[in-house]
Symmetry: C2
Subunit: 354 residues, 2 copies
């Protein structure tokens, strides 16, 4: 059949391995090791009625928007709901990027941005981080859409508000998307810049900090007049009734959220220290994972040996692809912050391997 050539040519985004073996210590896709808020289960059970299943859900998710607007102190009309933040990134691409257009993002970073460019038939430009990961070498003012994950993956590093503002200004009137999938694990968010930076768009997910990867829910925060345009591009009913109920309950339970967040940050501090003691170069992380490299030996065999021991971390190699990376950051292990017990299992295994 007559599939578009850009689709035929692309390899397709490959997500992290999802193995079903319950014995596996899974530290490869940044899932939250703690369960979602008890209120989430309650809300799903309450929503589980014949009428809610057989009828179409709220097209724009007004109940969620009202709740999230209150919790985050933003205008509910400035919130766009998504079937995971991947759905939001797709909607943004289709809204801003024509075929033959240009998407820019830093490197190394979330590999999906390139896939989105390939699907749209657009060009993709990667911009290197400086060696300290705090600034970016140069930017493409002609990009139709620029993604900046902050905190970044796989590095776990952040750029500061001044750098974000400067970048947004340089790109205006084209949009800068601050992909804040991991922002709940650090100390600042672009939300504080929104009112003064009209071309800033913020995306969030409930997959990480709210332990809801399974229900697929993300959202964007932007100017209400832009959200009205984005809503034309999304599928009419892109979030289902149970996910909407779960997401609303999760965001409402801020006490639980802060409790889980504090545990993850405490474990992150400990694992950073112990991995460093084991000889890894660990970047100070602002996310729920750490990026580990070694100067004394390759890390791929460590990933493989861990996998043999049923411990799954993510081995990422940016030199193998067409991507490029900051000097010296070509491959490494991205290890999700698990429970303390999971991290003990990992550390014991590493001690045995090294």
């Amino acid at each position: 059949m007559t599939v578009r050539s850009n689709i035929c040519a692309m390899a397709g985004y490959v997500p992290g391995e999802q193995l079903n073996d319950p014995d596996i210590t899974k530290l490869n896709t940044n899932e939250n090791p703690y369960p979602p808020s008890p209120r989430v289960f309650e809300a799903i059970r309450t929503a589980l009625t014949p009428n809610s299943l057989r009828k179409y859900p709220q097209p724009l998710g007004d109940t969620f928007r009202k709740t999230a607007g209150r919790v985050l102190n933003v205008d509910p009309d400035g919130i766009l709901i998504g079937n995971g933040s991947d759905d939001i990134l797709t909607i943004l691409t289709r809204t801003f990027v024509p075929e033959g257009g240009l998407i820019a993002s830093p490197i190394p970073s979330y590999i999906l941005y390139r896939s989105l460019a390939e699907i749209q038939g657009a060009q993709f430009l990667s911009v290197r981080f400086s060696a300290d990961w705090r600034t970016l070498d140069s930017w493409a003012a002609q990009a139709n859409l620029t993604f900046l994950p902050n905190p970044n993956s796989p590095s776990g590093t952040i750029v500061d508000p001044e750098t974000v503002t400067r970048l947004a200004k340089a790109l205006a009137p084209a949009p800068l998307v601050l992909d804040e999938a991991y922002a709940d694990f650090t100390s600042w968010s672009g939300l504080e810049l929104l009112s003064s930076t009209p071309n800033l768009i913020i995306t969030r997910t409930l997959s990480k900090s709210y332990s809801l990867a399974g229900i697929r829910f993300g959202f964007a925060i932007a100017a209400p007049e832009l959200v009205r345009e984005l809503a034309k591009v999304k599928d009419s009913y892109n979030c289902d009734v149970l996910s909407l109920a779960a997401a609303t309950a999760a965001v409402e339970d801020q006490d639980y959220f802060h409790e889980v967040r504090a545990k993850i940050i405490a474990t992150r501090v400990r694992m950073t220290q112990e991995l460093t003691e084991l000889g890894f170069d660990v970047l100070p992380s602002h996310a729920n994972f750490v990026w580990c490299r070694r100067s004394d030996r390759p890390v791929k065999p460590i990933y493989e040996e861990l996998k043999r021991r049923k411990i799954l971390v993510r081995y990422m190699n940016y030199a193998a692809g067409p991507l490029g990376a900051p000097e010296g950051a070509y491959d490494g292990l991205r290890i999700s912050v698990g429970t303390d017990a999971e991290i003990d299992t990992l550390l014991s295994a590493l001690k045995a391997i090294l």
Copy 2:
């Protein structure tokens, strides 16, 4: 901001009204009036565990694919899962239609096809049905993608296997999408043509015949090698863990499905007869709605008077838009098949109004 001009220019698809008032008799968006299978509730409750919510779901929905493959007697690798069949239609558009390309579909039909063309920056061509709704006037062999809803909405009519085969051959190698959202309410499906018609793609939804509009689940059936290309375009995790569990359980319970289907068809027969007796021109329907017009008076005031009485049907006017329609079919009421009690309420109100 620099939103693409095709997005700015479009009005956006407007779904049927979703009113929250529980007193409303809702016959406007073809939801199923009966609850989903009891097994669906059971499956969702079973899937509702901390681990299933906090972890990513199956990217390709292998459990659903295996089950649906067995029930429909198709290759599981030839099934693509979607977040509602709207997601599938979007994926098909992005896979086959370049910017400036062409989407074709009959008229009057599902209005979303035009919106998909607008979002993609593509042209849209509508092809008229013949006066008996059984054939189509002419087709655009140069279309990148052709949608044929069968049964069609709002008419509820079907075209026969010979017409579909002829059309697919005329369009080859470009794809013909048979949108079978309502096929469970009629007597034949394009599934029987799949092996002999390589450019045929079939789409299905669980929103209508399986009473699951609220959970957003649809799928495509096509050649496995095409499904591999479509999977590159979909979001990695486009269906959530609870929807997947619900969809699998629903498709598994074929006894319940046949029971509900028989009730809806019986009510359709009765309402067609009684609406005809009230002076409506009712097309023989193969779906879970009927298309009603009158030669003696305009139907819009009837829609409005019904709405005042808290009975919601869909008034569709194809003359008002840029669409065009077969001779004499310019506007009408599309009334969903409700429970017998709901249809009694409708018929009493109509007797009072007329």
